[in-house]
Symmetry: C2
Subunit: 364 residues, 2 copies
Amino acid sequence: MSLTTITVKMSQFWSKLVHELVPYTPGEQPQIDGLIKLNTNENPYGPSPKVLAAIAAANSDTLRKYPDPNASHLKQALAADSGLDINQVFVGNSSDEVLAHVFKGLLKQDAPLLFPDLTYSFYPVYCKLFEIDSVQVPLDENFEIDIDAYDQECGGIIFANPNAPTGIALPLSKIRLLARRHPNRVLVIDEAYVDFARESAVSLISEFDNILVTQTFSKSRSLAGLRVGMAYGQAHLIEALERVKNSFHPYALDSLALAGATASLQDNNYFTQCIERINQTRAKTISSLEAIGFNVLPSQANFILARHQTQAASELFTFLRSNKIIVRHFAHPRINNFLRISIGSDDEMQTLVDVLSERCRSTS
Amino acid sequence: MSLTTITVKMSQFWSKLVHELVPYTPGEQPQIDGLIKLNTNENPYGPSPKVLAAIAAANSDTLRKYPDPNASHLKQALAADSGLDINQVFVGNSSDEVLAHVFKGLLKQDAPLLFPDLTYSFYPVYCKLFEIDSVQVPLDENFEIDIDAYDQECGGIIFANPNAPTGIALPLSKIRLLARRHPNRVLVIDEAYVDFARESAVSLISEFDNILVTQTFSKSRSLAGLRVGMAYGQAHLIEALERVKNSFHPYALDSLALAGATASLQDNNYFTQCIERINQTRAKTISSLEAIGFNVLPSQANFILARHQTQAASELFTFLRSNKIIVRHFAHPRINNFLRISIGSDDEMQTLVDVLSERCRSTS
C-alpha cells in the first residue's frame, strides 16, 4: 500500500472539519526521576489535606451511582466563595472544557472574535473547532493589552488575565472600559492565574451583563489532576453554557472531582498560605534571574516570561533540559527568545538559578 | 422589567445555535432516604475493591500535577482486554463525551445520519448541537432493528446494541451485513450495555474499517460516578476522535478516574461475578413480572422494558414513586405504555415485584 493510499484511507470517514483541525499541544508530562518540572504551571504544593480527606470519603461503593449532574454542592460553595448567586456559576471538566462551551455558546457570532496575538494558545484551536472567525490583536511593545486596539467591530473579546504566557495583568479599570465600549458583545476574562494576582473581574459581574469570567482549580488550588474549572457571569450567560453542556454530557464532573473541589473551597486558609509562598518565591526568582542578566516581564501569575540579554532561549531550554529542568519555549516569533518558567518550590527555583548562573557566567 | 424584556436580555449574547438546543434530560438523581432507584441503569453492586484501592493510592499530593493527556496506561489496559492495539482505543470523560466526539468527528457528513426511532435519546440532541441532518428509522413491530430499512443514502448509522430502552440486541451477523452494505460510511455500535449481552462487535473491528464501537465503565463496571467511556475502531477512526478531543480538552480524564478505570480492568473476576448475578436477577424479575400480567421485551441489558396488560404505565410509575421506587417512563408514543426498569439487587427487585403484585391484584 503506498503512502497516498494510506492517507486516503485515513481520512475518507472523517467529518470534513477534522482535516482542518490543528490540535493544541500541551506541555509535556515526562516521567523522569529527579526532574524539576517547570513547564505546565503546576503548583509545587499539594492540595489541602481536607481535599484528600473528602476524596477518600467519596471513594466508596457509591461510585456505582451517577454524580449530581447539576453539581449543586460545588456550585453552592463557589457561589458562597465568590459572593454570587448559584445561577451565576457554571462548572465543567477543566477550564479548557468550560472555555470550549464558552466559544460554542457565546463567542460564535456574525463578526470575528478578538483576542491578543499572544495569549492562551488554545483560543485559535477552539476557533478552528467551532468555525469562528477571529482577529488577533497585537499586544503593545511592552507586551500589554492595548484596549484602544479593540475598537473594531467584533463578535466578542477574550483574553487571559493575568495574560499567558506574559504574566502581565490588565487592571480592572481598563476591563470596565472595554466592557462599556462593547455593550452588545461578551467579554470573556480567562482568570486561570488570577489567584496569584491583585484583583479579579468577578467583582464586575453585578455591574456588567456582558462580562464572563473563567477560572480553574488546576493552578492556585493545586488540583490540575482533578480537572475542574468554572465560569462566573450573570444568569443569562451561564444559561447558554448550561444548554451547551447539557447537550454534550450532563454529568461532566465525576463524584471524586466534585467532592475534592468542594472541600478545597472549605480550606481557604491553606490556599492563601500556598499562594503567598509562591508569590514570595516568584519575587525572589525574578531578582535572582535579573542579577544574572535576564529581563523578566512583571508577572502576576505563577510563572514568569524571561529573556536573557545575551543567551538564546532555545539554547538555554536545551541546556536546562540536559540538567533535568524543563521549562516552556514557544515558537511564536515575538517571544521565541523567551522562556516561560513556572514557579516551583524555593528549592527548585534555587536549583534553576544555580544552573543558569553557572551557564551565564561560563559563556558571558 | 416586562417578561419580554427579560427574554430578550436572556438571549442577546448567545450564539445563534444555543436558542435551538433541546438539552438531554437525564434520569433524576433524587436524594431520598430508603429510595429504590431503578431509573438510570446503575449497577447495584459497588466497584471492585481493587478500584477503590487504586483510587486511594492516587489520592495524594500528585493531584497537583496534570494527568497523562494520552491516558496511556488506561489505553494499554483496554487494548489488552479487547485484543486490540493501543492506537485502536480511544477514551473520554464518559461515553457521552466519546459519543459527542464521534458525532463531531465522524458522523457529520453530507448525507443524513440514520438511527432508530427508539434508541438512546441523546442522539437527536447531538444532531442539534453539531447541526447534523438525521433520519429516524422505525424499529419493526417487535421493537427490533430491521437492517433492510437502512438501505438508503446516509452519512452514517448509529444505534445502541443492546438497544436502549428496549434491551433487545441485534446479532453480529446482521451488523456485519449492515457494515458491508455501507462500506463508505461509519457504523457506530453504542455498546453501553454489551457486558450484559451475549456478543460484542469489538470482534468485527479487525475485519471492518468502518465499524466503531463505544463502551462505558458506568454500567457493568459499576463506575457511573467516575465518568469513563471508550471507543474501539481501526486507527484511522480513532485518529479522528483524538483530533477532536485534543482540540477540545487534552486532559479529558482526571488522575483518579484514570487510576480507577485501569484497576477495574485488572479484576475481571469480580466484574464477571457481578454481571452473572445481575443477569440472574434479570431472568428472575422477568418471570415474576410476567406472572402478574406484564409483557417484557427480551432484554440483554441491565434493564427491562415492560408493559402491563391492563394497567397504564403512567399510573404505575406514579404508584411506584409513592412507594419510594423510581423507574423510567418515556413520553415517546410507541413506548409510553412501558416502564423501563433497571435491574437492582435481588432484594430491590423483590420489593418492586411485591409492590406491583399488590397493585395489580387490588385493581384487576
